[in-house]
Each structure stands twice: as C-alpha cells, then as structure tokens.
Amino acid sequence: MADHKKISAYSIVRNNTVSKNGALIFEYEKDAGANDFLLAAYRQFAINYPKFYKMDNLCKLGIIAAEVLLKDQTFESNDPYATGIVLSNANSSLDTDIKYYDTVANIASPALFVYTLPNIVIGEISIKFSFKGENAFFIFDSFNADFTTHYVNNLFDTTGIHRCICGWVDLPGNDYEAILFLIEKKETLNEQEAFTKENLNNIYYTSNGKS
C-alpha cells in the first residue's frame, strides 16, 4: 500500500568519514580539520560543482551528504516540486557567524554574510538538485527522530511530495556531523527499512558509537 514510507537510503558524514547505507565509502586523516576534510571529500566524489568553493563549511557538509545520499537513486518523476527537505541542527550557522563577524571589524564580507543562516544549506541543495518542494529548518538540542517522523509523515499526507530528504546537519567547528535520510512512499521489504523513529534513532546512534 502506498501509505508506507521507506528509508530508501541514508548518508552519514562525521569523524572525517563518509558512509552510505552503513557502508564506509571514504576515510580521511583522523586529525585533519573540517576545511581539509570537506575539500578532500569533494574531490574524492568528483562532485565537479565550482560553486562549492564559495560555500561555507555547513553548506559544504550538506552538499556532500546530499550528493552521496542521492547518487544512484532513481526516481520515477523529475518533478521539482515532488521533493521536500526538512533539516535540523543545534548550532544554527554559528561557525560562519563567527567568521563573518571577524570581518566586520574591517570590512564586512557579503560572501560570508549570506551564509549566516542555517537554512541556506537547504537553499544550496535545492539549487544544485533543482528541488522546489516544501522545506523547513528546525533548531533542536539534538537529533529529534520523533519530531522528524511526525513532521515528514504530515508532509507526505498533506502536500504533493513523493519523497523527502530529512535529517541533521550540524557544524560546530571541526566537530561536525551530518546524517541525511531519503524517505519515499514505497512498500517496505523488511521492518528495518520502515520510516519510524526507532529506525532513525537506531541508524543515528549505532553509527555514532553512542547508545
């Protein structure tokens, strides 16, 4: 029944590693900072999108996570309004806020200022992949699987979306973390694939080494 929603895929970027659906696909030097890691991941995945270089680290993180999430996924329709995006984090755009504010003492940088809002991550993902569906950005202390499942289920029920990218993209300096889920209206083959808060938490906490 098309009432079911499935976790079709998930990508995780943290601790200088990138994984898709639980399998490690890229690992970088453990003590490298976020700047170096994000550039290395960009080159590793041959993303070939020059605008990447102008983005702040939060957006770079989001783009890499989205790129990995969506690679090799096939959709029946390319309808731009069919994809919703619901992201969240705890630190808003703090990393860039600080960098921007440092420039204010001399001459304020417009290129940094435009990134002093967390939802610009959604903007950049939308631009790159041409998504025009509903999008929202929430601030929580930590990843809130309960809220995410409720909110996204409601989007499926009340708007025209066929799929939703949801998750957590946070970058307090070098201690970054991104986990994106691709949710689609589909029959699930097994219980672990069902879009439930238990499954989201399971994926988030198990891969984190947190329990």
Partner: protein
C-alpha cells in the same frame, strides 16, 4: 471533525507601537517607525535609517519581569507573546499548548558586544552575556516565563521563519497533537545584521519605498508578533470572538540563489498558488495581500511578477506594511500575520507609504490610503526568505 484552525488572540511590538492598539493607530495615521539609529553603537549611525522599538531593554525588563541584562530578543518576544495570550483569554491549564517561535539572531545583541571586549582582553566581558546566544534560547526563555512546557521549538529560515512557525502550529492542531499554539517570531536589531545587509548593498539610506519604481532598498526593523491559534473544540469553549481562521498555507523553494529571488518569482508563485489550493480558494477570492514588499529592487519585481502571473487581470488591494515597521526579518511573518488577522477582523486595508511611481514592469500599484469598513473575507500574507524559502499564509473570516 472540522479542520478549522482559529486565531483567538494576537500580540505585537514593533517600531510603530508597543501593543496592538498602538500599531493600529500608527497604521491609521500613516506614522512610520523609521528614524536614525539610537540603540546601537554603529558606524552607520548617521547614514542608515532603522525601525527601532521605542523601548530600552530596561523598560522591556520592567514590563516583562525578565532581567534587564538578558538578550533583547527574549524581551521583545515575551512582550508580544504575553499580549497574545492575554488577548485570547484562555486558561491553558490542562490544554496541550505549544510555543513555536522563530528568529534569526538569537542572543546576538549581547554576544557581539561581549565578543568585541573579549577579543581585546581575554578577561573582559561577562559570560552571562553569551549563554543565551543560541538561536533556540529566546523561545526557551519565553516558554519558561509563560509556563509552556508541552512543546517548544524554534524555526530559523530567515525572513519566512515566523510564517513557517505559524503554519507548523496550525498543522499540529489539525493533527490533534496540540490544542493551543502561540506561534510567530521575533528579531532584535544588531550590528551583525546591519553590517551584513549593508555589505549586500540592499539598504536604503532613506525611508524605504516598497513597490515603487525608484525604490532603493530596505530599512531594517525589529520587533515581535504572535498569534494564538486554537482547535475548533477549544474555540467553542471561549467567550471572546475569534479573529479569523488560518485557512491556507504553503512553502516552496525558489532554488535559484542563496539570497536573490528568481526574476519570475518562481518560489513566491508556488507558495501563493499552493496556499490558495490548500484553502480551497481561487485568486479572485483574495481581498487584500499583505506583501513581503521589502523595497529592494530584486524582491519587489520578483514578487510583483509572481502576483501578475497569478492574479491578472483582477488585482486585490495590496500593500507592504514594511513601509511602516521596516523589515523585521525573523519577526516579519509574525508581525504581518497579526496585521492580516486584524484586517479580517476589523475590515481594514493598510496603506503602502511613500509610493509615488508604479513599477514599469507591472500593471498594478499598491494601495496608498488606510481604508476601514471594508468587506474582507480572505487575506493573503507573503513572507519570502533568504535561501529561497518562500511562504504564503491565508487568513479567512469566520
């Protein structure tokens, strides 16, 4: 079971008034809130007009009972949220109540002063001025003060933030997750935002002229606006007359640029169309549009083009109240929701100040007079944010 979401109360503080009555009076008398900067110690003091709330932090603290050293964002938020709850005259005991607030600056007003002191001397600055920096803190502070525990969250999507907060609240009522929601947003003026917008060269060094051919940019403002929404079940228990319902909403992404709108206003068009669809209305049903109307070259042509596409040849009356309050960023959706609900309740249409010349690309002009005793059944309120985040709300008469 009906799906209706009722607006039971409203609260606001802005550059044109410290409560609903003062705001309405200013709108009626055509009195804008812009002036030279007085509250910030900024290099732009003499050159950039802003729309400040005419209350110091000490005065706001005295009204709210919060400490005077706390972030201005929380102070403004509590003033407006309290007015909204009192206006709705609801006893929230035993009701599942949510507080959904939006902002873009968090506690930045305090942090930026701390940071300057701290940079020059690591022992200078008081830590209490940074503990409330985070975006989510003002909502938590205010929810605590109001005794709301059931559901509290913060949305941060730039200039559409509080519109998004409002329709999230409505959804949660329809989903029977909450009985009462106080939703809207707040933002305080900071040097961070002032310098940032200045670096984008979209500030007007005179009072802004939304939707005018010769517009030169926006004026930053500050303030807070909240509405109280209730389920039909709760509405039936209240003695006060409901303002209106929130009958439609929609959010879409323009997917064009981080801060500029696409020339055709794709995101805006999608949001307005979607809101009409949700409300089960057609463009002809709208009696008044409260425009996003910031006064920048880019927004006004994008929004104007989208309106032409959707409404031509019959245009409802429309105006930008940012010509009074300035652009209150994270608060704008909430502030303008209050004005929209009042428009439906009292049959009002607000003027668009300082409009002289119709934009050459458009075949319509905003309303320049304050009108009352109008027959207003449906009002549309637009809020379009950076990051391509576009939202539109529709308020309908009961």
């Amino acid at each position: 079971m009906s799906n209706a979401v009722f607006v039971a109360g409203a609260g606001i503080i802005s550059a044109i008034g410290n409560n609903v009555a003062e705001n309405l009076h200013a709108l009626e008398t055509g009195t804008p809130g812009m002036s030279k900067i007085t509250l910030l110690d900024s290099a732009h003091k003499e050159t950039l007009p802003v729309a400040e709330v005419k209350r110091t932090n000490e005065q706001l603290a005295a009204i709210t009972g919060l400490p005077a050293h706390i972030t201005r964002t929380a102070l403004l938020s509590l003033v407006a949220a309290k007015e909204a709850i009192n206006d709705a005259n609801i006893n929230i005991q035993g009701l599942r109540t949510g507080f959904i607030s939006a902002n873009s600056v968090g506690g930045m007003d305090k942090t930026e002063n701390f940071y300057a002191q701290f940079l020059s001397d690591k022992n200078a600055g008081r830590l209490r001025n940074v503990i409330n920096h985070e975006c989510g803190r003002p909502a938590e502070i205010v929810a605590d003060a109001l005794g709301i525990k059931h559901f509290v969250t913060t949305i941060s999507t730039a200039c559409s933030s509080s519109a998004n907060a409002i329709f999230l609240g409505a959804r949660m009522i329809r989903q029977n997750m909450l009985d009462v929601v106080i939703a809207g947003g707040v933002d305080a003026l900071t040097k961070f935002t002032l310098n940032g917008f200045n670096s984008l060269m979209i500030l007007d060094n005179e009072f802004c002229k939304p939707f005018d051919e010769n517009r030169k940019g926006l004026n930053l403002g500050e303030g807070a606006g909240y509405i109280v929404m209730v389920s039909e079940k709760v509405a039936a228990t209240l003695k006060t007359k409901m303002y209106c319902t929130l009958s439609g909403w929609c959010n879409a992404n323009d997917a064009y640029h981080q801060t500029a709108s696409s020339p055709g206003g794709t995101g805006s068009l999608l949001a307005m169309k979607g809101a009409l669809q949700k409300a089960g209305l057609s463009a002809n049903d709208i009696d008044y549009i409260n425009l996003h109307g910031t006064g920048t070259q880019n927004n006004d042509i994008a929004e104007g083009t989208a309106i032409s596409t959707l409404f031509a040849p019959r245009y409802p009356k429309m105006s930008s109240t940012k010509s009074f309050t300035g652009h209150t960023l994270g608060a704008s959706g909430g502030v303008e929701a209050v004005f929209s609900a009042l428009s439906v309740k009292h049959g009002l249409i607000y003027p668009n100040l300082r409009f002289h010349t119709q934009m050459k690309e458009l075949s319509f002009a905003p309303e320049t007079k304050f009108l009352k005793e109008q027959s207003i059944k449906h009002v549309m309120s637009n809020s379009f944010g950076f990051g391509g985040n576009c939202s539109s709300l529709i308020f309908s008469g009961v």
